[in-house]
């Protein structure tokens, strides 16, 4: 008998939730028909800004499940100043991220010293064939368009530039 108020309260809670759902709609989103805007810093997909990449391999080596593949070759670039020595630069041949392996830990984005990798909140890139989950550098660069403006940090700190 002592439990009776609690039991009735429990019934009240489920009934109240039902009436609230009737009146105000549910807390869920009917996904393919209506979409929820993910938060700005959501970890959807990793975008690559090719010009910033020096193929230092830090991201590839820090990746816990080795899903980043980088190949590059060295080339000579014209000297910065008149009469100088030609510079040596690394050019990317291949930059692939296998999203079938990626576990979205974000260590590569954290570790990149030249801000070449960015998080994008885009999430609709599932594929019927698992090999299509390997995004090459062209596709990774296309994701750059979806990267939102970095949120403001505390006063005096530089924002991450695209």
């Amino acid at each position: 008998m002592a439990q009776l108020p609690g039991l009735l309260k429990g019934l009240g809670i489920t009934f109240g939730t039902m009436m609230r759902t009737f009146k105000n709609g549910s807390n869920t989103v009917q996904y393919p028909h209506e979409k929820e805007a993910p938060p700005v810093r959501a970890r959807g997909v990793i975008a690559l800004h090719q010009d910033n990449c020096t193929s230092c391999m830090l991201c590839s080596r820090s990746c816990p499940d080795w899903c980043i593949y980088i190949e590059a070759h060295k080339e000579l670039a014209p000297p910065r100043r008149e009469g100088g020595k030609p510079r040596q630069v690394n050019l990317l041949d291949r930059f692939d991220i296998d999203y079938a392996l990626c576990m979205y830990c974000g260590i590569c984005v954290e570790v990149c010293p030249f801000d070449a990798l960015f998080w994008s909140p885009e999430y609709e890139y599932s594929e019927p064939n698992i090999t299509d989950m390997l995004h090459d550098k062209t596709k990774l660069s296309e994701w750059m368009e979806t990267v939102p403006e970095a949120p403001a940090l505390e006063v005096g700190a530089d924002k991450k530039k695209k």
Binding site: G10, L11, T14, T17, M18, T21, F22, S26, N27
Partner: protein, 351 residues
């Protein structure tokens, strides 16, 4: 029920009509209960919408589910006791069909009009225990056996308060015939006021509560779903069943919920009848013919109301522990219903 719209129906025709009627009376409530309560009400109570894609507002989801189950492989464990394994779900569903036979839907709309209707219903409802035990035993699976035994222990424990709760109604109505119980409720009066007849939910309120709790346990709905506790027994006696055989168990569960709710509405809410004083009827013979059409609708409405309560409780409470469950039956429900019988008998003699 030998003539319909003035046409004399031969015996085979009557039998066919009864079979069709029985199918409708079992499957229609089951489908409605699954869609309205299991799919929609449960979702709304959890602040989600439930199935929305199949048909308008997800109304054809059940058709899709049945189609899915029908195409699944019929798996039988190698060590299973095959004939028993195959028979078990059929026995469970059979008890439901046997149960609906005695529910009256109108003055002439009944399948059989047994003098001991409620006695028969209570006896037949325990056949499902046999099916569940058979399923648990023949699956060659320890967890299934455990689930089956739990189910048997629980159903036997809760059969008693159910029978005792019904006894109050039988004492008050003075008959075991469900048709007569309906008439007694609708033709009756409380202290001379006959506006609402005398639905036994008022005079037998304790019995009604005990009966509802007992059928909750008989149906193994939460909080009494220890036999199919998915967190410890996977699905109890149903674990090894797949495809069509699982579908039969599934239909059996919700069809039995509907049929038990029909029996409860017949016993406590006045069944197919409206209070006879509204139309100046006095007895069974003076009831108008159109009640044969309206009656089933009234029974259906009352069934939906009672099923709403069963499902509401199901979606609200967590599961009882096995000892709490047995203690509740033997130490609370049975004494309460015994006192209820005693008081009913004393009051019956006094008035």
């Amino acid at each position: 029920m030998n003539t319909l719209l003035g046409v004399v129906i031969p015996y085979w025709g009557q039998s066919l009509l009864r079979v069709l009627g029985g199918l409708v009376a079992v499957l229609l409530p089951a489908g409605t209960i699954v869609y309205v309560f299991l799919f929609k009400m449960m979702s709304f109570m959890q602040s989600r919408l439930g199935p929305m894609e199949a048909g308008p507002y997800g109304s054809l989801q059940l058709v899709a589910e049945v189609g899915k189950w029908l195409q699944k492989e019929d798996i039988q464990p190698t060590n299973a006791d095959k004939p028993v394994f195959k028979l078990a779900p059929i026995i469970v569903l059979m008890s439901t069909f046997l149960l609906v036979v005695v529910v009256p839907f109108g003055p002439d709309a009944w399948f059989t009009n047994l003098e001991t209707g409620i006695f028969y219903a209570l006896a037949v409802s325990s056949i499902s225990v046999l099916g569940i035990l058979m399923a648990g035993w023949s699956s060659a699976n320890k967890y299934s056996l455990l689930g089956g035994l739990r189910a048997a222990g629980q159903l036997i424990a809760y059969e008693l308060p159910m029978v005792l709760a019904v006894m109050g109604v039988v004492i008050q109505a003075g008959t075991m015939n469900l048709q007569q119980i309906v008439v007694a409720q609708n033709a009756g009066s409380i202290f001379g006021i006959n506006t609402f007849g005398n639905p036994y939910v008022i005079t037998q309120f304790v019995g009604f509560i005990v009966f509802m709790i007992a059928i909750q346990a008989e149906l193994t709905q939460a909080p009494f779903d220890m036999p199919i506790a998915e967190s410890e027994l996977v699905s109890g006696y149903m674990t090894e069943y797949s495809g069509f055989r699982f579908l039969i168990f599934f239909i059996g569960e919700f069809a039995t919920a509907g049929v038990f709710a029909m029996i409860a509405s017949t016993l406590f809410l006045g069944g197919w009848g409206v209070p006879f004083s509204w139309f100046g009827w006095t007895s069974m013979d003076s009831v108008a013919n159109w009640m044969n059409v309206v009656g089933p609708l009234i029974v259906f409405t009352k069934m939906m109301v009672l099923t709403f309560f069963i499902m509401w409780v199901r979606f609200t409470y967590p599961r009882f522990r096995e000892d709490q469950l047995q203690r509740f039956a033997w130490k609370v429900l049975i004494p309460v219903s015994l006192v209820n019988i005693m008081l009913t008998a004393v009051l019956k003699v006094m008035f």
